[in-house]
Symmetry: C2
Subunit: 216 residues, 2 copies
DNA sequence: CTTAAGTAACTGACCGGTCAGTTATTTATA
DNA sequence: TATAAATAACTGACCGGTCAGTTACTTAAG
């Protein structure tokens, strides 16, 4: 019988397939905890259960690891949002509500929610990553909201207004809370995020909807 | 006649009084441009027109310089806001409008507006600074808005709602735009900030005001 | 089946460069 | 001259990335 290393005691195993994801996972955890610059490749290696040299067998550089995180792990989330919108039946207000509540919920509980704060923190020193993130994530997500709002304006559900500005305004409290979660939250007063978002939607939707025609 | 250095050519002059502010100014510029960690003390020294050693005659460490920036330059802005509120005559909605527009305007054009993004970026690695900032700036500013909103609720101008959440919601788009300005702006679509804030106030105030009693 | 030759995944000591902070020395000024 | 202010050379720790060598696994000949 052939005895593989896995059935013996051995210093390491060959696991070519599993390494990249394990390395990305370890990197995300450490980037989240310490930020990109302050994360040491030695620590990533240790957390991923490999040696430092192995990291460079799979990724050219620290920066490439960061970029790969955005590319391979975040983009799929936007795809999901797109699908959800296309399948939706109902008013624009209901769709916005569903999107914000849904996106919020799924994003808030996902490890990846640390990425926006990371990108913002490091944008100055890694312009390429920031540019990539804006093109691939920011503009796309915002575009979804812009379209829904424009639709609401067209069908007289919402007041006439600049839909691009409105989309940013709709997202701002969500993004703001997300960034806060990964920066000042430990030092600040607690916040009930669900209740916060519910109030946001109440105020925002009430503010953007056409006045009832019987109102003064 | 005694000829002072200033009247000769000389390698340097004694300027004990002027140094601290010049150093803080130089540091703020570089922190804004590169972030805290990526800023080199040698560059701060060069920009301030002194040698690296001189920095340490006036400040114990790089971190202390950062902390001092917040302490001596940002706090006075909160004082101003407090005064403006106390002097104001008018409705709560008008006061909120004035505060957001005014705070926005003055902050947006001030060098110090780079500090929030800096703090958020470095909060993980410099908890002491983050804690200090939250206590001295964040809670105080938010408190001002909380009070105005509560007043509006009490005098039936606003709907009953959680004033702490509402205060955060009012500030979120402003802070969000401020952070964006110092991170993703160079890579993102342009934004007319004045118009953006005007729309925010329209939607928010319209959303939080008590419904007209003749409305359905 | 056994095993020796071959391959590629993996390791970890090391290197070159960087940078916050220190100190021996020089210079401006009272 | 005395000394406070400022300099510039220096130190030592740190870290991203490299590479010569090691080991797990594969394969093919016997």
């Amino acid at each position: 019988m052939i005895l593989k290393c896995s059935e013996h005691q051995c210093r390491w195993r060959r696991r070519k397939e599993a390494r990249p994801e394990e390395i990305l996972d370890a990197a995300l955890d450490l980037f989240t905890e310490k930020g990109f610059s302050a994360t040491r490749m030695a620590d990533v290696a240790k957390k991923a259960g490999v040696s430092k040299g192995t990291l460079y067998l799979y990724f050219e550089s620290k920066e490439i690891i960061f970029k790969e995180l955005v590319k391979t792990m975040m983009s799929p989330m936007v795809d999901e949002a797109e699908v959800a919108i296309n399948e939706f039946q109902g008013s624009s207000a209901e769709l916005l509500d569903k999107m914000v509540t849904g996106w919020w919920e799924s994003f808030w509980h996902n490890k990846l929610s640390a990425i926006p704060k990371l990108i913002i923190s490091e944008a100055g020193n890694f312009p390429e990553i920031a540019e990539f993130y804006v093109e691939v994530i920011v503009k796309r997500v915002r575009g979804l909201f812009e379209d829904i709002i424009q639709q609401g304006i067209d069908n007289k559900e919402f007041k006439a207004c600049n839909n691009k500005e409105a989309a940013r305004l709709l997202m701002a409290p969500v993004i703001q809370a997300n960034i806060w979660k990964f920066s000042l939250k430990p030092y600040d007063e607690a916040l009930d995020e669900k209740s916060y978002i519910r109030l946001h939607l109440e105020i925002f939707l009430s503010g953007i909807k056409k006045d009832d025609k019987h109102a003064k």
